[in-house]
C-alpha cells in the first residue's frame, strides 16, 4: 500500500480520474460547471475556502441507499405490505445486465424493507434473489453462501441483519466500481431508489392527508432526483444510462411541479454533552392532488417496466 501511495501525482491523477468515475454512485470531474444541480454555487465563501475551491476537485453524488430508503419509510409510521414487493418468482425474467442490475437494486430495497419489519423469512428469500442477480452480474463474493447462513442464524437480531444487508450492498457497489462498470453500479442504485419511491407512494394509497410524514418523504425525493440525473448525465453516451436518464426525465417533469421552499436560513446548534449538531431550517412543501396522482402513476409505470 505504501509503495502505491508514493507514486508521483501525475500518475495518481491518471488513476484518480479512472477510479473516481467508477466510485460507488458517484462521478469524477475536474469541472464543477458540468455538474451543477439546482444549487447556486459559491456566494459566501471566504478567501481561504475559495482558494481550495479553485484547486482540482472531484464531484460525487450519493443517493439514498435501499437501506436508508427503507428506514425512511418505516420511520414514517407505515405498515408492512408484502404485496408491494417485486415477487421473487420474477427473477428468471432478468436476462440482460441492465435488468439484473436494476433488479439487484430493487430486491435490495425489498429485502431492506422486509428486514426492518422483521419479516425474516422474506428477508432470506429476497437475499437469495439478490445473490443470484449479483452472481449473474459477475459480482464475486458480494453475497456468498456464508452471508445467507449468517442471515439465517441471526434472523431474530435485526441489528445484525441490517449490518449484513449494508455489507452486501457495499460489496456489490464497490465491486462494480472496481471493475470499471459504473453504469451497472448506478443502475443498481437507480433500481433501489425507484423501488423505495414505489413502495412509499403505494403506501399512501393515493391520499395526501393520511400520512403527511410519508408524503413529505416522497416530496423531498425531488432533491434525490437531481442527484440521480447528475449521476446518469455522466454516462449519457451509454445506451443503458441514456435509457434510464430518459425515464428519470419523465419523473422530473412531474417533480418540477412540486414546490420545496426554504423559509428560513440554515443555522446550527450543538448539544455539547452528546456531541450532536442539529441543523435548523424551516421549509414548506406544496404538492397538489393532481400532481401526486401523476407522480404515483409515473412511478408505477417506470417500476413496472423495470421489473418486467
Amino acid at each position: 500500500m505504501k509503495r502505491l501511495l508514493n507514486i508521483p501525482v501525475s500518475v495518481v491523477l491518471l488513476f484518480g480520474i479512472a477510479l473516481f468515475t467508477t466510485s460507488c454512485g458517484s462521478e469524477g470531474s475536474k469541472s464543477k460547471k458540468e455538474h451543477e444541480i439546482s444549487v447556486e454555487a459559491a456566494k459566501k465563501v471566504d478567501e481561504k475556502a475559495m482558494a481550495e475551491f479553485n484547486k482540482s476537485k472531484l464531484i460525487f453524488y450519493s443517493l439514498p441507499s435501499p437501506l436508508e430508503t427503507a428506514m425512511l419509510i418505516k420511520r414514517a409510521g407505515t405498515v408492512y405490505d408484502e404485496d408491494l414487493l417485486n415477487p421473487v418468482g420474477n427473477l428468471s425474467k432478468y436476462n440482460t445486465n441492465l435488468k439484473k442490475a436494476l433488479n439487484l437494486g430493487i430486491y435490495s430495497a425489498d429485502l431492506s424493507y422486509t428486514s426492518l419489519f422483521d419479516q425474516t423469512q422474506s428477508t432470506v428469500k429476497y437475499m437469495a434473489n439478490a445473490k443470484k442477480l449479483a452472481d449473474g452480474l459477475g459480482i464475486l463474493n458480494a453475497i456468498d453462501d456464508n452471508t445467507i447462513k449468517k442471515l439465517e442464524n441471526n434472523m431474530n437480531n435485526r441489528e445484525v441483519v441490517l449490518d449484513i444487508i449494508s455489507e452486501t450492498f457495499m460489496n456489490s457497489n464497490a465491486y462494480l466500481s472496481e471493475e470499471n462498470r459504473p453504469v451497472m453500479a448506478v443502475s443498481v442504485l437507480v433500481g433501489g431508489w425507484v423501488e423505495g419511491l414505489y413502495i412509499a407512494t403505494k403506501l399512501t394509497k393515493g391520499s395526501l392527508v393520511n400520512n403527511k410524514k410519508l408524503i413529505e418523504r416522497i416530496v423531498y425525493q425531488k432533491l434525490s432526483l437531481y442527484t440521480v440525473l447528475n449521476l446518469l448525465g455522466q454516462y449519457k453516451s451509454n445506451n443503458d444510462a441514456g435509457y434510464l436518464q430518459s425515464k428519470m426525465e419523465e419523473l422530473k417533469v412531474i417533480f418540477d411541479q412540486v414546490k420545496i421552499i426554504n423559509t428560513s436560513k440554515v443555522e446550527t446548534t450543538t448539544d455539547v454533552k452528546n456531541k450532536v449538531t442539529t441543523i435548523k431550517a424551516d421549509s414548506e412543501i406544496d404538492i397538489s392532488q393532481e400532481v401526486f396522482d401523476k407522480l404515483m402513476k409515473k412511478v408505477d409505470e417506470i417500476r413496472t417496466e423495470f421489473i418486467s
Binding site: 507514486i7 501525482v9 454512485g25 441490517l162 457495499m170
Partner: protein, 139 residues
C-alpha cells in the same frame, strides 16, 4: 502493452486496497450507527479536494466519517449548505474526522474534503486512499 497491463493492474490494486481500507478501518468508526451501504472512497493526493452531494432527511441522525491512510497529510472536511454556508469545519474542531448531526428539515448538503499539503512548493505529492462513509442511527 506490458506497460498498459501493469498500469491497469496497479490501478485495480490501488482501488482494491481502498475498498479494504474503507471496509476494514473507516467503517468501524461508524460504531453504533448502521452504515447506509454506499461506498465512497478513492485516491486523493496532497492539495486535491472532493465534494459529495447528498440529501439528508429530517428525523434521522447521521454520522459522517472521513478517513485517510496514515501516510497522507491531514484531511479536513466541511459540511456546506446549498448557499455555501459552512455548517461544520473539521479544522475548527481539532481535525475531528467524525461528526454526528441531524437535520430539522430535509436538506441537500455538500461534504467537501480537502487534503492538505506538506510542502506546497514540492512537485512530489503523496497520494492515498480517502473514504467518506455515512451512518444512520439505529432505532
Amino acid at each position: 502493452m506490458i506497460v498498459i497491463a501493469m498500469f491497469a493492474f496497479t490501478a485495480a490494486q490501488v482501488e482494491a486496497q481502498c475498498f479494504s481500507y474503507a471496509r476494514g478501518v473507516c467503517k468501524t468508526e461508524l460504531k453504533e450507527f448502521v452504515h447506509d451501504g454506499n461506498y465512497n472512497a478513492t485516491v486523493l493526493s496532497e492539495g486535491e479536494s472532493a465534494e459529495i452531494y447528498k440529501t439528508f432527511f429530517s428525523g434521522q441522525e447521521y454520522r459522517v466519517v472521513v478517513c485517510k491512510v496514515d501516510s497522507l497529510p491531514p484531511v479536513n472536511f466541511q459540511v456546506i449548505d446549498e448557499e455555501d454556508k459552512i455548517l461544520f469545519d473539521s479544522e475548527k474542531h481539532g481535525g475531528e474526522h467524525v461528526w454526528d448531526f441531524k437535520v430539522e428539515s430535509t436538506q441537500l448538503l455538500i461534504i467537501r474534503v480537502v487534503v492538505s499539503e506538506k510542502d506546497k512548493a514540492s512537485k512530489e505529492k503523496i497520494a492515498g486512499c480517502v473514504s467518506v462513509l455515512f451512518g444512520i442511527k439505529r432505532d
